[in-house]
């Protein structure tokens, strides 16, 4: 509870700092209130480099097509939300970015997906190395049955990364807005924490090895409203440094926290991808408007 307010305070401070540091800052400031200025959403902003670029991605599970011909560019240091009804393929697309679909025997991916210009589906790409640059947070909080400390350092250990682990643990937990709650119990099991704390621990674990992209698959869907709001605040903050791609069922959540929104509809089709404000206020497609206004889905 107190954490939540600290959070907001931090963000406000940071926002102020950003403004004072560079009054001419264009669309780079990741303040993502939909009601905010147009500059806050930056899908078309030329200053923002594309990090993830999908070209004609299609995915099949056995004979069932889960995604059909997805092409989209995800800009750096922003929040990109994927919304759509169940089974529309939004999670599947997320799992294409770090090749988690490789772990499903029946899954087959066609098309190209570039991470900073390198096609991750090239033969010479090691999915293990790829996943070290693309962190992931899952729907259900899944801390390891290890201590909080060992959870956060897990990525560093498997990657043989050196550095001051104590410092990295503190830094990561602070960024995940969990430090104040757990600093005196780092040796205790991560499973002792509440659901919302566990999810923030998973976020700390994902950012500790400093990935470039952070994928989040409905990270708040298993949490209560207070924990959800903490996670949302956190996501907005993380987008200052990371490229965040988030799948969500929750339209309001997408509207609140994202800069760009991609709307997937049944059949694994990407119907519209644009600035969040545009998608929610004036979508091109009638189907998207119907979905967003709750006429179906």
């Amino acid at each position: 509870m107190s954490q939540n307010s600290t959070n907001k305070q931090n963000r406000n401070e940071r926002a102020e700092r950003d403004e004072s540091a560079d009054p001419t800052a264009d669309g780079m400031d990741i303040q993502t209130d939909v009601s905010g200025s147009v500059a806050a959403s930056a899908g078309g902003s030329p200053t923002r480099e594309t990090v993830v670029s999908a070209k004609h991605i299609s995915v099949w599970y056995g004979d069932d097509q889960a995604l059909s011909d997805i092409t989209m560019d995800i800009p750096e240091r922003s929040v990109t939300a994927m919304v759509g009804p169940s089974g529309c393929g939004k999670s599947t697309f997320l799992r294409c970015i770090n090749r988690m679909n490789d772990l499903i025997d029946s899954a087959r991916v066609e098309g190209d997906l570039y991470l900073r210009g390198k096609n991750v589906y090239d033969d010479d790409v090691d999915p293990v190395a790829l996943r070290r640059r693309v962190g992931m947070v899952f729907q259900k909080p899944n801390p390891f049955p290890k201590s909080i400390y060992d959870n956060v350092t897990y990525g560093l250990k498997i990657q043989d990364k050196g550095g001051d682990y104590d410092e990295i643990v503190e830094e990561s937990l602070k960024r995940a807005a969990l430090w104040d709650e757990v600093k005196d119990q780092l040796g205790e099991s991560g499973l002792e924490l509440s659901g919302g704390q566990q999810q923030r621990l998973c976020i700390a674990r994902a950012i500790a090895p400093d990935p470039e992209v952070l994928l989040m698959d409905e990270p708040a869907s298993a949490l209560d409203p207070v924990a959800t709001s903490q996670i949302e605040d956190l996501i907005e903050e993380l987008a200052e440094d990371y490229t965040v791609v988030i799948v969500t069922h929750n339209m309001q959540q997408a509207a609140r926290i994202s800069d760009q929104t991609a709307v997937f509809l049944t059949g694994g089709e990407l119907v519209e991808f644009d600035d969040t404000q545009k998608i929610f206020e004036n979508p091109e497609s009638q189907r998207v408007e119907d979905y967003i206004t709750g006429k179906f889905g």
Partner: protein, 319 residues
């Protein structure tokens, strides 16, 4: 529908109807049978063993020779005809076989479990699982002569001084015998580790090896430990194979001295078989020593089971 009909409808008693009572009683009796059997066996073991010791025998009105409980528990010589009943002699042989089989079964069993749970394709599993089940289903007497006829001659190539009956081949064969137990219980424990944890590991850029050894095995540790203890209880109680392979000459061996494994001795279970096959007179001292050994064996396996339960409780992870 009138109110009367409704009343009869929802007030009819089914819980204490004759049929319910009858079935409940039947199931209770089936469940009670195992408890009664266990208690009877323990009572028999304890009373018969009590007749063996000089301390307790007079209380039960036993006349004739008895054995000192101290000599029984601390003596290191077993010679029925000479009146020497040092159970440590037999315990040392049992401990050796248990340790030796653990050295073989634990690494192989856990490695098999990891392979089955984390690496094997559906096809490989469909071959390996039945093979393990067959290994578990081989009659123990077959394992015994397998040890005597194949393992010991093979070992004698490496260790020319090895006896025809020796602890090493008995340990190896018991080890092979309990691999399926370690493997299948450990595999169950590993398969029960939620997939979300593996996904989390892979999502962090862990390799298959990282996930198997760093996430799945630690998360399944309580089940894996339980498998060790259950398998070792089986090794302690194993009879037929060790009777054939380990020999019949009781001698105290130092379990931690590797050279001891080249010699033969008489494990507790084999000693009991020997006693039963010999011309022991009912009610004699040798006959009563059978129950004393049985009681020691029972206490050891009971302690193992308690440890197993404790470990399972203490280290169980709630995912």
């Amino acid at each position: 529908m009138s109110t009367d009909e409704l009343t009869t409808d929802i007030t009819t008693q089914t819980e204490n109807s004759p049929r319910e009572l009858l079935t409940r009683t039947f199931f209770f009796l089936c469940a009670a049978l195992s408890i009664v059997t266990t208690i009877s066996i323990v009572a028999l073991l304890v009373t018969e063993a009590a007749r063996f010791f000089s301390l307790t025998a007079p209380l039960l009105g036993v006349t004739g020779p008895t054995a000192s409980i101290v000599d029984f528990l601390t003596g290191t010589s077993w010679n029925i005809n000479g009146g020497e009943f040092g159970v440590l002699t037999l315990v040392s042989a049992t401990v050796m076989i248990t340790l030796g089989s653990a050295v073989i079964a634990i690494p192989l069993g856990v490695a098999t479990a990891i392979y089955l749970s984390e690496y094997a394709s559906e096809r490989a599993r469909s071959l390996l699982k039945p093979a393990l089940e067959i290994l578990a289903g081989v009659p123990t007497v077959v394992y015994g002569f397998f040890a005597l006829i194949y393992i010991t001659p093979a070992l004698s190539v490496v260790f020319p001084s090895i006896g025809t009956f020796n602890m090493l081949s008995a340990s190896i064969v018991v080890g092979i015998m309990i691999i399926p137990m370690v493997a299948s219980i450990s595999e169950d424990a590993m398969s029960a580790v939620p997939d979300e944890l593996r996904q989390a590991g892979y999502g962090m850029g862990a390799t298959k090896f990282d996930v198997a050894t760093g996430i799945v095995v630690p998360a399944a540790l309580s089940g894996i430990f339980s498998s060790f203890i259950l398998a070792l209880s089986r090794a302690i109680g194993e009879t037929m194979a060790v009777t054939i392979a380990a020999g019949s000459r009781a001698q105290f061996l130092n379990p931690v001295n590797p050279a001891s494994f080249l010699e033969g001795s008489l494990p507790m279970t084999a000693a009991m078989v020997q006693l039963l096959l010999g011309d022991i007179t009912g009610g004699g001292l040798a006959y009563r020593s059978l129950f004393a050994i049985g009681l020691v064996l029972f206490v050891i396996t009971l302690v193992m089971n308690v440890i197993s339960d404790f470990v399972a409780q203490r280290y169980r992870e709630e995912y």
